[in-house]
Structures are given as C-alpha cells and as structure tokens.
Point group: none
Chain length 423, copies 2
C-alpha cells in the first residue's frame, strides 16, 4: 500500500473519541554501539521509570525516511505526524524551515530563502561563504541595514515585491518575499545564489526550471526578485566582513492537509524550539507556548490536558548532545526526562509513544539513518519481552521495525480512533 | 513494489507441480499480553504437536491490512489468498459479504444490500433501528411476506428489476436485485437508507455519486430500485415491531481474478461457515462441503487430498472465543486443533502454513490490528530458534513480519511453484 493510499484509508476510518494520545519526541535519541562507544545513551542512562514502563509496553523501531536515508528535522517530524516524508508535496524547503526555526509566521504565499552573509574581494569574488562567522549581534546589525533599505521604499521594492529580512544565528538570516497586492503570485522554483566554492562571485538569481512553459512563473518571479536582491547587496558594499550574501533553499510553505482534517484529532504541539512549533503548525496542530525545559513542557501539558486528544511533546537536548558528540550530556537529558516521567504518567494518557524523529549518534556528531527505538504504551499494546527502552531491546519488540510514517495509524488504533476496515 | 506489481510477477513465475500446500486459518488466533492477561491463548494452551512442529519450522508474523488497520473477515482472508486487501477493486461490500455469510450464491451481476428490520412510529419516524431485535423465526416470517409480495409480480418488479429476499439472523436480512433479461445492468453505487439516528424517517434510495456522467448508471439504478423498495416497505405497515426496514452496504461481487488463473493452483476451500466459503469461492476456489468441527474438515480433506494442490482450511472457534472475551474457550479450540494435527501431518503436505486472518484478542472482544503469528513448515523453510507457535516467539522468527498478502508467494515458493526471476 503506498503512503498516499494508506493516509486516505486512515482518513476514511478515523473516528473521534475522548482517548488521549501523547507522542513524546526525544530528538535524535537513537544512538550507536561502536568499538569506541560500547553502550548507547539509552543503555548508559539510569532510567528506573522508563524501565518500568518498558516492561509493561511494546517496543519497536521506526525508520524515518527509508533505509539508509538520514532525515533532517523537517522530514523526521513530518513522518512521525503521519506524512510520507519523501513525497514531493510534503517537502518543507530549507528557506521555510529556517524561517520556522526563527519562530516566524510564514504566510502560505511567501517565498522564503535562507541567507548567509559572506565576504567578497574587490572584484566581488567570494573569500568566505560565512563572513568569518560573525557574531549574532553583528548579523542583527547588518540585517537592520537591509531592513531600513526595504523601508525606504515603503516595504515594496522593484516590481511589486514585498520583502522582509530576519536575523538568524551568527551569519545566518532569512529573506521573505511576497507579491504586493494586485500583482501575480511568486513562484519558489528558484536556484541558490551560493556557488558552493570560493574565488567566484555569488550567482545571479535565476529560475530553476529550464526554458518552456513549466518555468514561466519562476522566470517571472526571478525577474521581479533579482533587482531586490541587487539593491540589498549594494547596501553591504561598505561593510567589512559581511559585504555580500548568498541565498539558498527558496521555498514556500507546503499546503499540507492538517492532522485534524486527516485523523479527526484536536492536536497540540508543546515544543520549546521554534522549528518544531513551526513544523507542527504546518501540520495543523495548535502550538501551545512553553519553555525549553521538559518540566516547563509538562507544566503546560497539565494545564491544557482537557483541551486536546493528541499532544506532541518535544525534547531537544538529546539531539544537541548527540550533535556535540557528548554522550554524557545525552545520558543526562534522558535521565532528566526519566525523572519527570511520573508527572506525565499521572495524567493517564491512554496511549503514550516515546521515540525520536531520527538518531543522532554521539560518535557521528550528526543525524543518521539508523532506526529509532520506540516505546508504545496502551492497554491494547502487546506486552513483549523487552525489559528496557534501548535500541538493542527494541530490535525484538512486538511493534517490529516500521516506517515512522506508520506510527500515527498505530497510535490511532491503540486509542480506538480507527474503525474496522471492511466487514 | 505495489501489490498489483507483485501479483503480476507471481503470475508470470507461477508453475504447476504436484506439491501440496495447506493453509490452516485459525480465525482471529492472535491475542494480547496485557497487565490483566499475562499470557495469550497460544501461550496458555498445551500444544505438544504444534510445539513439535514449531521446532522444525520457520515462524513469522503477518500484518493483514497495514500497521494499525483492523480488518474485517473479508479483507483478512483476501490478503491470505494473495490479494492486496485495501485495493478498491478487491473490496467485498457489506451487502455481498452478508449474502455470502448466509451461504447464498451471489451472481456477478447482482446488487446486494444488507437489511435491518426496524420500527417506525405513526409518522414514519424511526423508533428502533433493529426492530427490538426480533427473534430469527419472526425475521423469517416477515421475509416470507416480502417474498410473497415479490412473487405476486412474477419476481420482476417495477422497471425490470428482479428481487430476492433472504432472512438472516434476528432482525437482519439480505435483498438481492438483478436486472431482468434485456434491461440495462444495475449499478451498486447507492447510498444506505439507514440515517443512523432515531426520530427521522428512513432515507429514500439514492445514488451515491453526485450529478454528472460518473453517477448516471447509479442514478438510473436508483430510479428502478426505489419503487421496489417502496412496494416492499408498504407490505410491512401492518406489522408490530418490524414495520419498516433499512438498507446498507449496496455492493456487487468483485470481479477478482481467481487463484487458479493467478497462481496456477487447483484450490479447495474447506470451511464450516458460509462466509469463508463465499470469500474463497469469489477467489476462484472450489468449495468442498464440510462440517464446522475441525475433525469434519479433516475428514473431507482426506477424501479430496488427491484432487487439489492448495487447501484452505478454516477454523472459526478461535475468533468466536476471542469475540466473547473467553480466553479459556480460545485455549480449548487451539488444544482441539493440536490434538487433531497429526491427522493433517499424516497426509504429508509439502507446505503447511498455520496462521490467522487477523487477531481477535480476548481482552478486546473484537478484531484487532496486531500482527498474527505464522508457522510455516516445508522442507525448504529455515528452521529458526523459535520453540513454540506463539505471538512472542514469532517476533523473532525467520519469516519476519510481512504483509499477509505476501504469504501466498511464500507458500508457492516453498512448494517449488515459482520459477526463478531473471537469469
């Protein structure tokens, strides 16, 4: 059954009830056993509460985006929310993802690019694609220059293009373009202006599609946006390190059917970091404002427990520790979650799944393709022989190894939210 | 590989030989371990013969219709017979399934609905959608009234519509419509007349499709059948409780390619209950009349052993016990099968698969989505480390966890009935 057909079938079978589902995502929790790291973070951690829960649950493993495919945070979470992450219509481009990560409200019609400030020589040739990794304060100051340039023209530049600039971390920023009222919509099918090498100038802004009808809208957009980009570039000529910029990942927010529409859920997202709030919002979840600490997430969960029947909780620390290659830090985050787990269980979720959006093994200091352990707890799950929530135990769990995109259906089933298929 | 592609490949590779395959379906055999039920029926049962066989076999698990999807008996069996159960062209509608369950011979061109007798007040508004659950004898009497009304017109009513009525259990019955000779075929795309609520009248018979070409045939059918339905309704006006009826699940027998055509099998179905005989027949199997007890099934199997090379044997008791939430009864059925297993083995099937069409966990008293254990025995299966035929052992079996629809190809392979693919 293809991903699309499966989603249609779930939509047909979905029914509301009062049972509550909690999906707790420990970002990048999956890890590796290697010669140099004989135990994973989950194996190393002291987790009496998770152990106890695992002994009463079904374990299994999730494959985020297919065997061997390492997903970014976008696809990793989209899969957990029930979308087939490699389907083109589901793709959240890098520009949009960066904007969501900054907590921006991205309008459906906006074309968004992720920017790097860069250094060029007197001839305009790239010397440094990251402008010497200028500090964030410096990035903000320069973004201020660009914003003032935009304001000069009342926010509308060139051929009816509204632009916004937002500073990110260090040398990173976001450019957001919209068609001014009464002008044709903008098309995101544009090429990066980053040549990915030094000694050459940034590329001119061009449409991605070749000649012919297919690329007509994108070419028109490129013609309208290119002068805006040039005008902004000129503002930076007098700067030291950040005297140029590169744009990448032109994209628009995908028009995803929301999880309410797809699965009749009233879904809430409790995540401390804007990127995850943004992805959840793009999937039709209501974003509940909360802090970054798991305790703060639980505070809000307790307050809003009666208002929803699906809760996505996000813990970022596991991924950050994995990216840093810091096994001890990853263990500490897991132990912190374990210590607070009783508060979550006290609420009495009918279905609780604990997993990750992907693995971030400490030895790799990066996301990876390895299957992610899953713990599934409900009064309808098969209590298997797994004693702890670890990668190795999960191999022999009752859920088996399934695509992450199939988890949503499994959660719905465990919550009694799916009718029988056929008589 | 989509289900259709796989089936085409199998058809291309299928070859006849004399080796015999037996598929023994213990309906709903899969069960759960929960806090309240620490052992499944298979774990609880004393099964020396199954244990012995399991030690010489490969185990695995079958997923009937996709992760989290709970199948009805139709899709559950279609999958075991090699069809992709969620494909629309494979769907056996509720009307047809009910007719098959009554043992009716459903002609390919018939449109069949499942009926409920119901109670309406003086204004025609529904008081009881099941007519107070009248006893079967009462249902039969009322069906007799309707049958006599049909006979008055020589079996052809209204605009060239032949009708048949067949009593089911209690308040249930089946209405079967066919186009009279020389009139256009009937289309099953009709809406239920059951409004699914009380206080309103039954709905008029209408086509499901909206206006336009797509629904033309269905609208024509609705116009022809509606007067027949009205004429039959009028017959019940003087009745007490069953003074109305509701129709649901209009459908036609799907035009499935048979397993003979698909896999070059001479296939026999030995099932004590009509529903399973009907589904098997719709898949091109020859139905061998037999009793409901497993011993009676084996009697007929022994008699007809030389006549076929694929035998579908069906045991209903496991599902019935599961639906009743009666673990002890489920255990008893499994032990009965175990005791008779030597008779089956004596015949020397070249390939024997024992599994279920779905799980019916006693704690749930209903079908479920949980993977079903599979035992596969042949001289070409991998003898794995599983010691018993249980859900938990099957997790680590050599077959792995696969869609039920892939079992047929595995059986053919073990029977040497599939040529090599490619050179």
């Amino acid at each position: 059954m293809s991903g699309a057909t499966r989603q249609e079938l779930l939509t047909r079978l979905a029914q509301r009830n009062d049972r509550r589902i909690v999906l707790l995502v420990l970002d990048g929790v999956g890890d590796l056993r290697t010669a140099d790291q004989p135990r994973t973070a989950l194996e190393e951690a002291r987790t009496p509460n998770l152990d106890d829960l695992a002994a009463r649950s079904a374990l299994g493993r999730l494959v985020p985006a297919g065997t061997g495919i390492t997903p970014g945070s976008g696809p990793g979470h989209l899969a957990l929310f029930g979308y087939e992450p490699t389907a083109p219509e589901v793709d959240i481009g890098r520009g949009v993802l960066e904007a969501l990560g900054l907590g921006l409200d991205v309008p459906r019609d906006a074309v968004v690019a992720r920017g790097n400030f860069a250094t060029v020589d007197g001839e305009g040739r790239l010397l440094d694609r990251r402008a010497g990794r200028i500090p964030s304060a410096e990035g903000e100051r320069i973004c201020g220059l660009l914003a003032r340039r935009i304001e000069v023209d009342g926010g509308v530049l060139g051929d009816g293009v509204e632009a916004e600039v937002h500073a990110g971390e260090a040398y990173r920023f976001v450019l957001l373009f919209r068609a001014a009222a009464g002008t044709p919509a903008l098309d995101p099918d544009l090429l990066d202006t980053d040549p990915q090498q030094l000694g050459v100038p940034p590329l001119p802004l061009e449409a991605a599609a070749g000649p012919g009808d297919a690329g007509r809208a994108a070419r028109a957009t490129a013609r309208r946006i290119a002068p805006v980009v040039e005008a902004l570039r000129r503002e930076l000529r007098a700067e030291g390190r950040a005297n140029a910029f590169l744009l990448r990942g032109f994209s628009r927010l995908p028009a995803l059917p929301g999880v309410g529409e797809l699965y009749r859920l009233r879904a809430a997202a409790l995540a401390g970091y804007p990127l995850y709030r943004g992805v959840a919002k793009a999937c039709g979840m209501e974003v509940v404002d909360c802090g970054k600490a798991f305790g703060q997430v639980l505070d809000r969960l307790e307050e809003r427990w009666r208002d929803f029947d699906y809760f996505f909780l996000h813990v970022k620390g596991t991924d950050m520790a994995g990216e840093d290659g810091d096994l001890a830090a990853k263990v500490a985050v897991i132990e912190e979650v374990d210590a607070l787990l009783p508060r979550l269980l006290e609420l009495g979720p009918d279905v609780l799944a604990i997993t990750g959006d992907h693995s971030t093994p400490a030895p790799m200091k990066a996301h990876s393709w390895h299957p992610v352990p899953l713990l599934l707890s409900s009064d309808r799950c098969f209590v298997d022989d797994c004693a702890r929530f670890t990668e190795a135990e999960a191999i022999r769990g009752a859920v088996g190894t399934i695509p992450s995109s199939e988890l949503m259906g499994l959660l719905l089933a465990n919550a009694g939210k799916l009718q029988k298929f056929g008589a």
